[in-house]
Symmetry: C2
Subunit: 323 residues, 2 copies
């Protein structure tokens, strides 16, 4: 959400000369992506997004992220496509940062998704999952189930500063999830952060997915559970079952959810709520004094978690238990 690294016009022109991308016509730092610096670059040929990777992204993960974007774009997923330099590379360096140039997507994210948006999101997520099936690279989910307890221990003593009772709520939930977490669901590459911010629409159509920098290998249905959390709650934390049904039916129409995935959904949504509750709590308590980004309020995910704790079947999210 900020420009952390300034790029000079001379440096950018020299960078662009390494691509067959036209000459520089204009560029603006844009407030997109929480972790990295992004510029919208206009050349004589086209518009691009230039991303400079800041310190929260591990350089060794960049070939995975960029390779994934190219792989799924080749298979018809609408997402930014890394541009190859004349020497064939897609990862470069600029202003002391790893940098990549990707194609520009028209469209914009919707602040208040309607059921129709959720349906299209569900379809696009399933298409993305199918497209990743033959992606050869792997990346472990550092924020997956085995990572939650260690992350919690980092701030457990201060958890009740956020909201009284948070420490025992999370402790008990992690005990349950650790005992019950499904380990044999169909897995593959998931987006893992497909919030409304990261999905563009244009008119009535979904025009693309962005921000693949949390993508990793995990249960595919866990990605669906993340989206149920991110897309289907109202501002008053009520779950909107119309949106949930639209999302699940959209997904299921492209990639059939297995019976095991359907049964596991109430656990997966709890896990997804815990995952965002944990990272938001940690960031809330460890905000650097000169932060350029406002932290998300962890409380949103306390409320979501409490809802999921009351759910006994995927029917509560709008889909039947049987496939």
């Amino acid at each position: 959400m900020a420009v952390y690294t300034e790029v000079t016009d001379d440096d950018l022109s020299a960078f662009l000369a390494r691509y067959d991308a036209g000459s520089l016509v204009g560029y603006k730092g844009i407030a997109e992506g929480v972790e990295n610096t992004n510029y919208l670059v206009q050349t004589s040929k086209a518009r691009f997004i230039l991303t400079l990777y800041e310190k929260r992204v591990a350089p060794e993960d960049l070939p995975f992220f960029l390779g994934l974007m190219e792989h799924v774009a080749d298979r018809g997923v609408s997402c930014p496509r890394p541009v190859h330099a004349r020497d064939g590379t897609i990862l470069s360096e600029l202003a002391g940062r790893s940098a990549a140039l990707v194609t520009f997507l028209d469209g914009f994210s919707v602040k208040k998704p309607r059921a129709d948006h959720c349906s299209k999101l569900g379809r696009a997520l399933a298409q993305f999952h199918l497209a990743t099936a033959d992606f050869p690279q792997q990346r472990q989910n550092a924020l997956g189930e085995t990572g939650w307890r260690p992350l919690f221990e980092k701030f457990r003593a201060r958890a009740d500063e956020i909201v009284p009772g948070l420490q025992s709520l999370v402790h008990d939930e992690l005990l349950l999830l650790d005992a019950m977490w499904p380990k044999t669901l169909p897995s593959g590459v998931i987006h893992a952060d497909l919030f409304p911010d990261n999905v563009f629409f244009l008119g009535d159509d979904l025009s693309g997915l962005i921000d693949f920098y949390f993508a990793c290998n995990d249960a595919l249905a866990y990605d669906v559970a993340i989206c149920l959390n991110a897309w289907c709650f109202e501002q008053d934390y009520a779950f909107n079952v119309t949106k949930g049904r639209a999302l699940l039916e959209g997904y299921d129409s492209v990639r059939k959810l297995t019976p095991a995935e359907r049964s596991a959904m109430p656990l997966l949504t709890r896990g997804a709520a815990v995952r965002f509750l944990l990272t938001r709590s940690y960031d809330w308590l460890n905000l650097p004094p000169n932060a350029l980004v406002k932290p998300h309020n962890p409380f949103d995910y306390v409320r979501r978690l409490r809802f999921h704790q009351s759910v006994r079947s995927i029917a509560a999210y709008g889909l039947g238990e049987a496939a």
Copy 2:
């Protein structure tokens, strides 16, 4: 340099419907302009900049700023032109802020201006001054000479925290400027903040001036003095007389500097250095803890001021004393 106010897609679409500007295709918050929130808006018809005015801009000044941009654009100055809504207005409201839609300029600011850029800047500044001659509105320069002492008094006691000796340096300088400041130079509307950030180039041409939110009535040559400070010093604080000459000759070729303006230049450059030294010092000492903007280092202007104190004639900046 930051997005202070978030605009939702629904609100923006409703806003655009009030203009004959096409339908929304995309928008991005951009890191441009220190004081306000700016979005680059792409519609089915064209690109625009949407500005939301934040609290440091006085609402009663907005008709002056927007009227000025339209006035000079009508007279051939390349700058953003306010777009009229269907009801004729150019000032509107969005997301609880005063807001205006202006045309988009291609080009980008140069980080290290060369003499050629300075020459074109000088010409464009003079064209702007000529174009403002018949602008009917007036705005007092709150950061003009009479405002410097009151601003200094706000942080005088803490001035030496920035650099030892700053308090007496500024105090003595203000005594001198108060006694010597020229009051009868040709005056009119000046830009008052024409730093390289606020001037776009495209290829070899100056493609436009932006950010008119400090514009006010004052001595025209004082605007030139601000530019000599902002454009003609090297990173080691050496004054580059080649750039100074290019700027002054460029200006003089479009609007002849009078003998009085030439004589006054060494005082005007001192005043301009003091003006930026004062505001930067104040901001440096009063940075809000949650600031989204890094403050400029006031020290840059201590060094500039010391150079100007050694100057006895405009010849030191590259132009002869006689017109």
